[in-house]
Symmetry: C2
Subunit: 221 residues, 2 copies
DNA sequence: GATAGGAATATTGGATCCAATATACAATAT
DNA sequence: ATATTGTATATTGGATCCAATATTCCTATC
């Protein structure tokens, strides 16, 4: 018997599909902050009932991507400047540590992959994919840390501010700076200098945060 | 008109109540790891239908407290030694930073409250409340950091291992050591020495982790 | 014209019902 | 006796229905 076995346990439920789609839409900024999420409307869009939608919304709320009020419904969560600042500060702490832990485990394949993402980031001109490639670059390195719990935290904290990060990359000249910093991080990794890579990662995140906060402070006046 | 105004928006839904109860039961170890969670059974216990139960289970899964498999149901999540180790390492990183950020903001009232919790921890003989008082002690100090996002992360990571931490406190002589360490942290806070308080917090968490891992390695052979 | 009150509508939360899947167990064949 | 198949039961996921609450809009009153 020759057939490719798939693990059927991971078949996605309707709630999973709705959750993934909404998460993506929020992260990428397709759903604006403050926008109402009507259960009925979403259910119709996915050709399903409200039950899986409610489950998806409940999950999104747990991750802070939406806020809900009883009998009033869900809206895409917004963040204050202070909250954004805090999340960037937190990310700097955790991602710097993850980078430090990753460096000793980096092998040639991983480094090659990271270099690919880095190059791709520099080449990409459309804003749509910067956020995604940026993630891929960092994740490819972080994965070597072999710290699944840390990575999950990194993912959820990135989720919260990704929308703003994309705006920052696009609207300021963040891409040029980000690319320069990516190359520096990659160079440190190639040299096996964990401390340097960690410090550069920390600065990279804090830089982006500062730039974003400045941008938003200007915009929100 | 004289009455205490309550914000009715935060009235708990059935799903909230079920979620809180299950979370508490898992954290406190009343539900053993691997135990099945039948929707129908839980619904009957709370005099409700399965809908709110399903929502509660979905939320618990997002926080890693249970694992579910499609059409098979939910079980209380267990952690491997490696996972426990990783979470303690992570907590050490984050809680040390939170402590560092908290010290400059500590005022007399907060310190008095922390001292109360610390004393209460030393006096308590029954194992049941150690976990709770331990949390209260640390949270009372952490709150001064004014970093709600960090605190939420600390809470969820503590949730994951609280069950094991309680076992460690109870079954080894962890309480004596923990209490000594609490007093040292408190002293550092009173002196306003953020670096010291941070380092002691880090060691406190790592100590507990090492002790727990040693205990579990022995037990799980 | 502005405002308070109330009916009509929309929306959410929860209960019940049905379909899909898993599990337990009996029946049958080897 | 053991393994395999089929069937009954249990359980979950999703759809539909009902109740509780919020929102809208209309009307009456000043």
């Amino acid at each position: 018997m020759k057939l490719v076995a798939v693990d059927i346990r991971q078949a996605a439920s309707a709630a999973d599909i709705v959750y993934d789609a909404l998460r993506k839409a929020i992260i990428e900024g397709d759903l604006a902050e403050g926008e109402n999420l009507r259960q009925d409307q979403i259910a119709q869009m996915f050709n399903t009932s409200r039950i899986p939608v409610r489950e998806a919304l409940s999950r999104l709320e747990q991750h802070g991507l939406i806020t809900t009020e009883r009998y009033k419904g869900a809206v895409v969560a917004g963040l204050s400047i202070e909250e954004i600042d805090e999340i960037f500060e937190f990310r700097a702490l955790v991602e710097a540590e993850v980078m430090r832990l990753a460096v000793p485990n980096l092998d040639q394949d991983t480094l090659a992959e990271a270099r690919r993402h880095c190059a791709q980031f520099a080449l990409e001109t459309g804003s749509a994919r910067w956020g995604e490639i940026n993630r891929s670059f960092h994740y490819s390195l972080y994965a070597a840390s072999k710290r699944p719990y840390y990575l999950q935290i990194v993912r959820t904290s990135l989720d919260r501010i990704d929308r703003y990060l994309r705006a920052q990359l696009t609207l300021t000249n963040g891409v040029i700076r980000a690319n320069r910093e990516h190359e520096a991080i990659l160079a440190a990794c190639l040299q096996g200098d964990a401390e340097l890579a960690s410090r550069l990662t920390r600065d990279h995140v804090l830089d982006a945060g500062r730039s974003l906060v400045a941008f938003l402070k200007d915009q929100r006046t």
